[in-house]
């Protein structure tokens, strides 16, 4: 399936907040609590439709530990959207948001759309950060906010798609220069004279290549 636009996203936040699980829930519609620890960066991709147009989200899932911050900074460049994730059951992860946000603002382009996500909303009984606190932080810093559960899939689609809608609106308003790839937006092959097609179909559309027969 060929796309009209490709948006680059980055998922950031403390270790263990559920970044990889959010990605997997979004790309594969499944929850896998036990997965390999992310070292460096992992990739996922999914096609969505906005305003009747096919938009491909290319999502960079990063490692959360403090020690990897300097590496993670290199991944911000050219991202159109960022999902900044904390865990509603661990206040520490909420307290670190300011540092993450500073990093993101400093190393990305100024138009990057940032979505604040309070993950693990299914663990209401262990809640340590009130919903209102997340909302207040988002309001104060001009971010979109949502609480999600990668486990039950609640709001996961919405989180990724609403971010894309915001980016799309910015394109419509002319805020993003779509001809500059440093903005994290690429025009799809169907916009080039070579016409539609794409290396389509079958297993090729998935998140990553590969797979042994």
């Amino acid at each position: 399936m060929s796309y009209a636009y490709l948006f680059k996203y980055i998922i950031i936040g403390d270790t263990g907040v559920g970044k990889s699980c959010l990605l997997l829930q979004f790309t594969d519609k499944r929850f896998q609590p036990v997965h390999d620890l992310t070292i460096g960066v992992e990739f996922g991709a999914r096609m969505i439709t906005i305003d009747g147009k096919q938009v491909k989200l290319q999502i960079w899932d990063t490692a959360g530990q403090e020690a990897f911050r300097s590496i993670t900074r290199s991944y911000y460049r050219g991202a159109a959207g960022a999902l900044l994730v904390y865990d509603i059951t661990r206040r520490d992860t909420f307290n670190h948001l300011t540092t993450w946000l500073e990093d993101a603002r400093q190393h990305s382009n100024s138009n990057m759309v940032i979505m604040l996500i309070g993950n693990k909303s299914d663990l209401e009984s262990r809640r340590d950060v009130k919903r209102e606190e997340g909302e207040a932080f988002a309001r104060e810093h001009g971010l979109i906010f949502m609480e999600t559960s990668a486990k039950t899939a609640a709001n996961v689609e919405e989180a990724f798609i609403n971010t894309a809608k915001e980016i799309y609106e910015k394109i419509q308003e002319g805020v993003f220069d779509i001809n500059n790839e440093a903005n994290g937006i690429k025009l799809g092959p169907q916009h080039s004279p070579a016409a539609a097609g794409g290396m389509a179909a079958g297993g090729l559309g998935g998140s990553q290549g590969g797979g042994c027969c």
Binding site: T15, V34, V41, F43, G78, P189, M199, G202, G211
Partner: protein, 449 residues
């Protein structure tokens, strides 16, 4: 041919429009006619890798060759379609092999018995290292040989001396495990916050697919935890860094005893050139060496990187270095690479030659289709678990030989093959004279006496 994994919704058949492909490459397996991998790359850098285990690839090569001729005979192809079809055979590399290539069989039980005297002392430790470097070793010998390669145990000790030393190390390990109990309240709170909470989250997601570690309340997972907490308590400066659990897991599987695994990890972190903690300075030094090596050994790829924005940051190599290729290759191949690195033949930085070898073997696509930094990272990430470890190792040995045969070594790489920064098992030698190539801002040459 391309059977989807059970439960996946992918259809059993798929079509590929070659006109929309960026490249089609065939990697032939050495010594196995018609076997290898067919790698299809879309213009969005998505890869499909088809493995041919039972031959047949040669027929496809003929077919695609015909298609290529047909295309090149037609009007000039500037429609952005696939212009690249190539066969990457191993034959090209024979002339760049290390001269000792193929002269050593893997270390067998039999050969091992002949290497030690009746007390268990190794008569020629260097011979052991050379055999492991070129030939690898039988998996059954790993638990015996790894502690020697890593320098935990001494080759010049007898069996009984080694046993005694192991006992002392086991006692020391128990003492280290008790360190957190002796911490003050505030120290313990800090330790809990910085180390324990992360280790607890990480051990359960370390090789979750490996039967040795899977399942709830698996005692081996608890052992991982104990070792990592002990290491962080005994080395407050290093602490715990994500990735350590990945490196520790195979050590525990192979060595079995927690204390043995602990000391192997300790040696790996402290004595090898591995980048266990991604501190900027450690990583920067390694990346600096690697940039220079790529400039010398894979000039086309280097030239491309230097024209790409941020290309020379070498982001795609970070995980290679952090986990010593563990996620890039299937485990048997990854362990052979570890052993080759630990055997420290002529350099303690063999891992950098492995990086260069991966580039030499798999970066043609990057250069040919002029990928930017993001696409390069995607390219190598998609290749993880699909690269041929033996081809890469052989190439790495060849590149090391090529490096050691240079007429002169730039001063930036002067310490790559010397004994200066690590005596004992990491011994090597420098062959060519070091030549200063000048430094930014008139800085003093590190190789100057």
């Amino acid at each position: 041919m391309a059977r989807p994994p059970p439960g996946s919704e992918a259809p059993e058949m798929f079509t590929v429009d070659l006109g929309q492909a960026r490249s089609v490459r065939v990697f032939l397996t050495p010594g196995d006619p018609g076997c290898g991998q067919l790698v299809l790359c879309s213009r969005q850098s998505q890869y499909r890798i088809l493995h041919f285990h039972c031959g047949g690839l040669e027929k496809l090569v003929c077919l695609l060759d015909g298609w290529k001729h047909l295309r090149s005979a037609g009007p000039a192809a500037d429609d952005g379609g696939c212009r690249l079809f190539s066969v990457c055979g191993p034959s090209e590399q024979a002339d760049t092999d290390h001269p000792e290539e193929g002269r050593h069989d893997p270390l067998s039980e039999d050969l091992w018995q002949r290497m030690v005297d009746h007390d268990g002392r190794l008569t020629d430790p260097d011979h052991l290292r050379r055999v492991v470097f070129f030939g690898g070793l039988a998996p059954s010998l790993r638990s015996t040989v790894w502690p020697l390669l890593l320098g935990v145990l001494s080759c010049s000790d007898s069996y009984s001396e080694r046993q005694e030393h192991r006992h002392r190390l086991a006692e020391e390990f128990e003492r280290i495990c008790a360190l957190p109990d002796a911490m003050s309240l505030s120290e313990r709170a800090e330790f809990q916050r910085l180390v324990v909470s992360t280790v607890d989250k990480d051990v359960v997601r370390t090789e979750p697919g490996n039967p040795f570690f899977c399942g709830r309340a698996n005692p081996n997972v608890q052992t991982l935890r104990r070792i990592l907490l002990g290491f962080a308590a005994a080395n407050p400066f290093l602490g715990y860094t994500q990735g350590m659990s990945d490196l520790l897991a195979p050590l525990l599987v192979i060595l079995g005893e927690p204390a043995d695994a602990f000391w192997a990890l300790d040696a790996l972190i402290k004595r090898s050139a591995a980048v266990i903690c991604p501190r900027d300075d450690v990583m920067d030094v390694q990346l600096g060496y690697l940039r220079e090596l790529l400039r010398l050994l894979t000039p086309d790829f280097y030239r491309h990187l230097s024209t790409v924005e941020d290309g020379l940051e070498l982001l795609f190599t970070h995980r290679w270095l952090l986990l010593c290729f563990k996620r890039e290759f299937a485990e048997p191949a990854a362990l052979r690479i570890w052993e080759a690195c630990w055997s420290c033949q002529q350099t303690r930085h063999f891992s950098l030659f492995v990086c260069a070898a991966i580039c030499a073997a798999y970066a043609a696509d990057v250069t040919d289709s002029a990928m930017n930094a993001d696409a390069i990272l995607l390219h190598f990430t998609s290749l993880s678990q699909h690269m041929d470890g033996d081809v890469v190792l052989r190439k790495a040995r060849g590149l090391l030989y090529q490096f050691l045969s240079l007429d002169e070594v730039p001063c930036s790489l002067a310490s790559l093959c010397t004994t200066e920064d690590g005596a004992g098992p990491w011994a090597g030698r420098r062959l060519a004279p070091v030549v200063c190539k000048g430094h930014d801002g008139g800085a003093r040459c590190p190789a100057a006496r």
